[in-house]
Amino acid sequence: MTIAHMESSLKDLAAALSSKAISSVELTTLFLDRIDHLNPKLNAFITLDRRQTLSMASAADARRAAGRSNDCGPLLGIPLAHKDIYCTQGWLTTCGSKILSNFVSPYDAHVVELLKKAGMVTLGKCNMDEFAMGSSNETSYYGPVKNPWDIRRVPGGSSGGSAAAVAARLAPAATGTDTGGSIRQPAAMCGMTGIKPTYGVVSRYGMIAFASSLDQGGPIAKSAEDCALLLNAMAGFDNRDSTSLDRPAEDYTRDLSQPLDGIRIGLPKEFFGTGMADDVRAAIDASLAEYGRLGARIVEVSLPNSGLSVPAYYVIAPAEASSNLARFDGVRYGYRAPDYLDLADMYRKTRAQGFGAEVKRRILIGTYVLSHGYYDAYYLQAQKIRRLIANDFREAFRHCDVIAGPTAPNVAFKIGAKSEDPVQMYLSDIYTIPASLAGLPCMSVPCGFGAGNMPVGLQLIGNYFDEARMLNLAHRYQQVTDWHSRMPEGL
């Protein structure tokens, strides 16, 4: 593959396609060949289907040849990888689980429908933590994804396959989902830009549910500008998601180039305590100094209840998961245990064999906190604390326009380092969970390199529906730095 296309922004790819310098079939083939070459090493994809992919690419070329200008948007013919949590009609959709290892989806998720309508070409389905439950991609039934910056390390999770695929330039961009950090944390660990919009902006229809009050889709790409273009296509009201918000469409690229003079960036003092590793702190500090040179003003804010986020999340998310995952029973779709005594035994064996250890743990915790006698003490109490955390943000945004801090406390760790200790793994999401609980838009922006030459991510958190301003901050930073466009060597 020519380096040019591999490195191109979505805008440049659109220009190359539009000027007929390259066709979608040619471009898509370049990426498919690179996937064939590198995926055995990285395990970023679970499913590839060259025939379906190329047929979508030729359809995109045909649409362009037909030449109706309203049919040739900025994403027409550009290839994209989908996290395997999104239902894709006619494609295996496993959610990283054995229990869906034979599930060929009979329908498309809303996000998939919208990106298809925009003419994007599905390159394949990306590996992920099983049911998005994990922070390292090690809980996948299909094996861990390797971080392209150092294949002995994890890519983060749960959208680890998506982040690794874009980092290794196996795809120009990918979809992800974020429940407690699953877009931001892998984006940070793989040196990518990823955004989770305000809860309700992207439809959850056809996105296999983990914790419904938190789950939100978004893109992982090489720049804030690419993320904004993708979000333009992914966002939108959908009647089939009961929490989808009916709002006027936005152009998320509209403010990308606005000056940052006078913008107030709030640093929550709780995010800058002892939890953050020194190498991460150095990169974050340097990026904040850069923002100062761009005209932003740094102010201190406080999120006094943010320390309760991880425990509150590990009540709320498992509770919702235990309810959502009750549907996997071996009756209507998916895996069914081969041997059983009766109906109840079939359920128990199907679920015992079909789910991995981490998913079972979360279902059991969720079942327990929702069970008779414990509901008020755990679930309701966690929801009240969730309100306290959201109120902290409300107060902080009276003093600043955007909040900044680290995305993760450390750079990507070694495969196996935390997989035997769930609680240690949960603490990797200490900085991402607060904004998830509040439902705020947030993103991770590459801001340097730490130990082992591994990428560090700066987290930005915006006020509700302030995605455009957050993307503006990220884009201006990316105009004066090149962390986001660095590429792992030696693959």
Binding site: F103, R332, R336, A352, Q383, P422, V423
Partner: protein, 95 residues
């Protein structure tokens, strides 16, 4: 609060997940680690705070009571483990 093996067994029964005797002790220990993490919520004073069920407080939409889905039974049943005459088959529950 920490769970004993009987409680783990009861929760697993409620969740319809079989746990073999060999994995029961380890499951109990991991669950107790997680419960240790969430235990600190109990100490927080939340008197007068409304529980927050959703990130954006919005009420459920209503719609006309009209069918919105088309019949796709054959597509859905094509991926089922076992079907017959348009029905999903499970082990016999009534003799």
């Amino acid at each position: 609060m920490s769970l004993n093996l009987d409680q783990v067994e009861r929760i697993a029964r409620l969740a319809h997940i079989e746990i073999s005797p060999a994995e029961a002790a380890q499951t109990r220990d991991r669950l107790n680690d997680i419960l240790g993490l969430i235990e600190q919520l109990q100490a927080v004073d939340t008197a007068g705070i409304e529980p927050m069920a959703h990130a954006v407080d919005a009420s459920q939409r209503l719609r006309e009571d009209q069918p919105t889905e088309t019949d796709r039974r054959s597509a859905f049943q094509a991926i089922a483990p076992e079907t017959e005459a348009g029905l999903y088959l499970v082990p016999r529950v009534i003799e």
